[in-house]
Symmetry: C2
Subunit: 319 residues, 2 copies
């Protein structure tokens, strides 16, 4: 038996077929923009799911359940999307709509939680007894796993990106000031890079990007590797803030593993993971008790959410 | 049947007899300084426990178990105190020592966790499905309860006091800078009060305290109530930082209740709890989803640790 994992993003909709041992067998996708209404999107997701099953060379009777990762808040027990800013879903009885087209068990979860679950089951945090996952993207998302299962009582995703690490710092759209994601998201890294370029007209980053508009998450890391001092200032500042936020989580949860995902985490270990590990260890209170937290990188990339969503049915069976 | 709860403080040792419904029936105490060695202290704790049983008009056969709150890190499964700065215990087989004098089930736990458990079972957070407890004392301590039980996997207490809320802020003995407890502990409140007095020679706080050495946690609150602007600046600043740290926890855990203890929390609700509630609500992401976190005050004071310690046996039976 296989399961389907669906990842609903602001840009793409993806459905994947996943084996019982968390291997992605096939996937089908389309643009989210093609589905302007909730009904149209659910209908399309059913089609994508069934297409992926065919691509995997299987039949619909091989499918045990469907799991869906939603960028927003869900009522997982009633299968309702409560609120989801970048999708047509709002107070939507998602599971009911889905099952009108395909009558199969369907489970909903916040998409960040799905990605965490995927990494914990089959990725960078596999086999760890406790995991804090941190995803560095447009914002900073996170989740908490224990014994390979989501701590579901932390509802709607842990909003770790919206913890203040700089009192009276940069305003955040959430209404607070100095939220961690204003310093450690990929968006923040790009902003810091642009700010540093504006201060440093002779930085090689200007050559690399052409203009401020060409700045990417990796720009400062690439420049730093070439010896550019402006690039180094950006990466050092970025890693410092990232270490502060991660250390805060380590001091709260004392997890066995912190699993870091998002494009930034793909930087070379000597430029990203190793310096980060060193800083976090210095800030962690529990290392002296032998509870040293390991920092690892997420391994599944965009597939983590699909693999995690496909495993949601376990969450409800095992508990 | 009753249980014994022991609270080991830097100053006092207290043993209390607690009923099955978490009522404190009697207690006995002495000064910690009377017991210079681990053996002497354990021996004294056995005596205090048995004295408390007699004071309650009961006999030793009425006692089901003993629970002990230790200011430090414990290995609760082996009954060992790993590290405890202000006691004679270090790598001490506490339970073994205790049972050599009184052969009864003995459970160890971090003292902050015991206080959290006490408040969750019988105090301000009674009946809440999830509780983050925050204690404002020399430092800022905390814990997390779900369904009235400690989340024991968060080992050695949640070090919420050592989460950075002000990057490059005030140095903390833990080695970090800008830790929350440098802004929100009772110690921090007194420091802020002294700083403000030094800046404001005409503050009525000088009259109230005589000198900087006379500053208490309540000084600024008392002065603010009398219209003193320096006192108001201190309390506003203190509450602002406190709200930031509490909001960080609310955004991470989304608990039903945050339970605030320590002397400062005894300030009048209109000067402390109500403004704090308002600020935290503003900073909380989940209120719009109907997950509004309630702020309550701890109710048991110094007895929370005893009542929680006395309930530790449940933690091991129920799980």
């Amino acid at each position: 038996m296989v399961t389907i994992g669906i990842d609903i993003g602001g840009t793409n909709l993806v459905a994947g077929v996943v084996s019982a041992n968390h291997q992605l067998l096939a996937k089908a996708k389309c643009k989210a923009a093609e589905c302007p209404t909730a009904e149209a999107m659910v209908s399309r997701l059913v089609d994508l799911s069934q297409e992926a099953v065919r691509l995997a060379g299987l039949s619909l009777t091989d499918v045990r359940a469907v799991g869906v990762g939603i960028p927003g808040a869900v009522d997982r027990f009633h299968g309702v999307v409560i609120e989801s800013v970048n999708t047509p879903f709002h107070q939507t009885s998602f599971v009911e709509l889905f099952r009108q087209k395909w009558d199969i068990p369907v489970y909903l979860e916040n998409d960040a939680n799905c990605a965490v679950l995927g990494e914990g089951l089959a990725g960078g945090a596999k086999n760890a007894s406790s995991v804090v996952a941190v995803t560095l993207g447009t914002g900073v998302g996170g989740g908490y796993l224990r014994e390979g299962a989501l701590e579901l009582y932390i509802r709607n995703g842990m909003e770790i990106g919206h913890t203040v690490i700089e009192t009276d710092g940069i305003p955040c759209p959430c209404g607070r000031r100095g939220c961690w994601e204003q310093y450690s998201s990929a968006t923040a890294l790009k902003r810091m890079t642009r700010e540093e370029m504006a201060r440093t007209p002779d930085s090689i980053m200007w050559k690399m990007c052409g203009s401020l508009g060409g700045v990417k998450g990796r720009t400062a890391f690439d420049a730093a590797r070439q010896g550019d001092s402006a690039g180094k200032r950006v990466t050092q500042r970025y890693l410092k803030y990232l270490a502060i936020g991660i250390s805060n989580l380590v001091n709260i949860f004392q997890p066995e593993v912190v699993c870091i995902g998002g494009g930034v985490s793909n930087e070379k270990d000597e430029d990203f993971l190793y310096p980060l590990q060193e800083m976090v260890e210095k800030h962690s209170l529990h290392k002296r008790l032998g509870n040293k937290t390991r920092l690892v990188k997420a391994e599944l990339g965009g597939d983590a959410g699909i693999i995690g969503a496909a495993a949601l049915y376990q969450e409800f069976i095992d508990r």
